[in-house]
Symmetry: C2
Subunit: 322 residues, 2 copies
């Protein structure tokens, strides 16, 4: 099963499908392929370009190109694989069922790298909770042209088991994935508490993705405005309380750390604001709607998160005239 | 003291100054002058035009023009009068002290027709609480060109005493003003409870002024979007609670009536959204900051009003690059 450029013997997780070959899937799938793994890329908008010119990746880890990656224009063309990496935005999940039914055998692992909360639910409904893992990506990467990914900074993925009965431990398959990814240069780190990782990431994503759209401001502009900065912090406090209501403890210092890190960050346009400006759908349900509903279900009303969700729903609809 | 075109004998409230000759001051001052009262207009941007061409008013009450209104370019040029009508936006109040010191004798009434809460405070600090009355205008009027006012609909002013010791009753001077305004065709109505009138107006202004700016939407667009409409209602509920915390009862049905009236309204760009689009300062402190602070002082935290205030502060600052 090893492909032509394999450098080392493969373990049983020897083939990968990457759903979505953008800033995230192109980078991580590219690194896995560059290391010799058999990686099958589902490519939508850039298919012709990548077929003719390959996939080009610039990265602090070292620039590289894949001259002839294994690419597919349709989910129906994909082969069965051992690991499916869900790397497109949640707003593309309408195509998920066909893609997973096409690629999954009974022991295929589906690794969901999407943003937000409960983003594993769609995959789990198709392949079963026990076959799903989730990962939070801390990544600064852009698609700067067709088949051209520019990885700017960071890149760690914190990942864990999704199924309730498998949480609380690092499984063997997690260790295997960790080894494969790490060997490819991807900092994949196991966690026993995927939900905590997701909520901790929301502490940043909810204020800075949401306010970047509503205020049309980048991270620096938000941090420099006294009221916007205060609002970001108030939203962070609500995310922490919502997590707490869901049984997830996040230390108070996490908020200070996030604010301090954002203050020091190079001015950054969130991916949500880039999507909004390009009039693409924004991930309002996974990043805002799902945490809000989880919070309501747990008996806590986060008033400001709710308001941000309502504003984003309206802005997204008006932006795309739907 | 009656001026040249006076039709009837005047009572002792026989001279008026109007601070701000825009959509509101131009209309009400114009009607008072048209009825023969002595009205002195402080005119800022349109001085030359009005001096050369007069003031033109279109209104469902009947179109009319003032060929040679008494206009003044500087507060220092104004005469002493019996009644000063504060008709500019609260964002112009930096000039209020000079204008009132110039126009007020010890018994001059200052009638503050500005939007929001505690808008009488600036005038009261200059001339004393006991000389101040406040009015809430329910008016659809635009300045469509220099010296050209188009009154579209409504026009009622609900007004009352500001000083704590004078509240709860309709004073003699209120009756006199009522008679003068009504004779001029202005529906000036006395209330014993100015604060309730102000809070009831905020039930509409806070959601629809604020959301029109943040969502870049007119009343119809807000009412047609399910999440924006829900948010407008949630904000109304918070305004009602904030009023309650301040000892002002507003019946719950007022919210339904406001929503229903807005649904039936011709699509309307709020004056705040017009100011925002024109990159003029918006009245964020009088309409949002003051009610928010009053609510906090009374022990109620209106989370969504607070968030809207913070967003508007940031948007206003960024809009004007201050």
């Amino acid at each position: 099963m090893s492909d032509a450029v394999s450098k080392q013997p493969r373990n049983e997780l020897s083939s990968f499908a990457v759903l979505g070959t953008g800033a995230l899937g192109g980078l991580y799938g590219g690194l896995l392929a560059h290391d010799g793994n058999s990686v099958h890329f589902l490519v939508r908008s850039d298919f012709d370009h990548i077929r003719d010119h390959g996939l080009k990746i610039e990265s602090p880890l070292g620039d590289f190109a894949l001259a002839a990656p294994q690419i597919y224009a349709q989910p129906a063309d994909l082969p069965q694989v051992d690991v499916v990496i869900v790397a497109w935005k949640t707003t593309s999940n309408a195509a998920l069922k066909q893609a997973l039914e096409q690629t999954c055998h009974p022991r295929t692992i589906v690794l969901v790298l999407q943003n937000g909360l409960d983003v594993e639910k769609d995959a789990a409904a198709i392949v079963g909770d026990e076959n799903v893992l989730g990962g939070c990506c801390f990544l600064c990467s852009n698609k700067v042209g067709p088949g051209h990914i520019r990885h700017l900074d960071y890149g760690t993925i914190v990942f864990g088991e999704y199924a309730a009965e498998l949480r609380g431990a690092v499984s063997d398959r997690m260790r295997k994935l960790e080894a494969i990814f790490q060997r490819a240069g991807i900092d994949l780190r196991p966690t026993e508490n995927l939900q905590q990782a997701r909520w901790k990431k929301l502490v940043w994503n909810i204020p800075f993705n949401g306010l970047s759209v509503v205020l049309n401001a980048n991270t620096e502009e938000i941090m420099q405005d006294p009221q916007a900065r205060l609002l970001a912090e108030q939203l962070m406090v609500e995310v922490r309380r919502a997590a707490k209501a869901n049984g997830i403890n996040i230390e108070a210092s996490h908020i200070e750390h996030m604010l301090e890190a954002t203050r020091k960050m190079v001015p950054y346009d969130s991916s949500m604001s880039l999507d909004f400006v390009a009039k693409r759908p924004i991930e309002v349900e996974s990043i805002f709607g799902n945490p809000l509903r989880a919070s309501h279900a747990a008996g806590y009303q986060p008033e400001k998160i709710e308001m941000l969700y309502e504003q984003l729903c309206c802005l997204d609809r008006r932006n795309r005239r739907v």
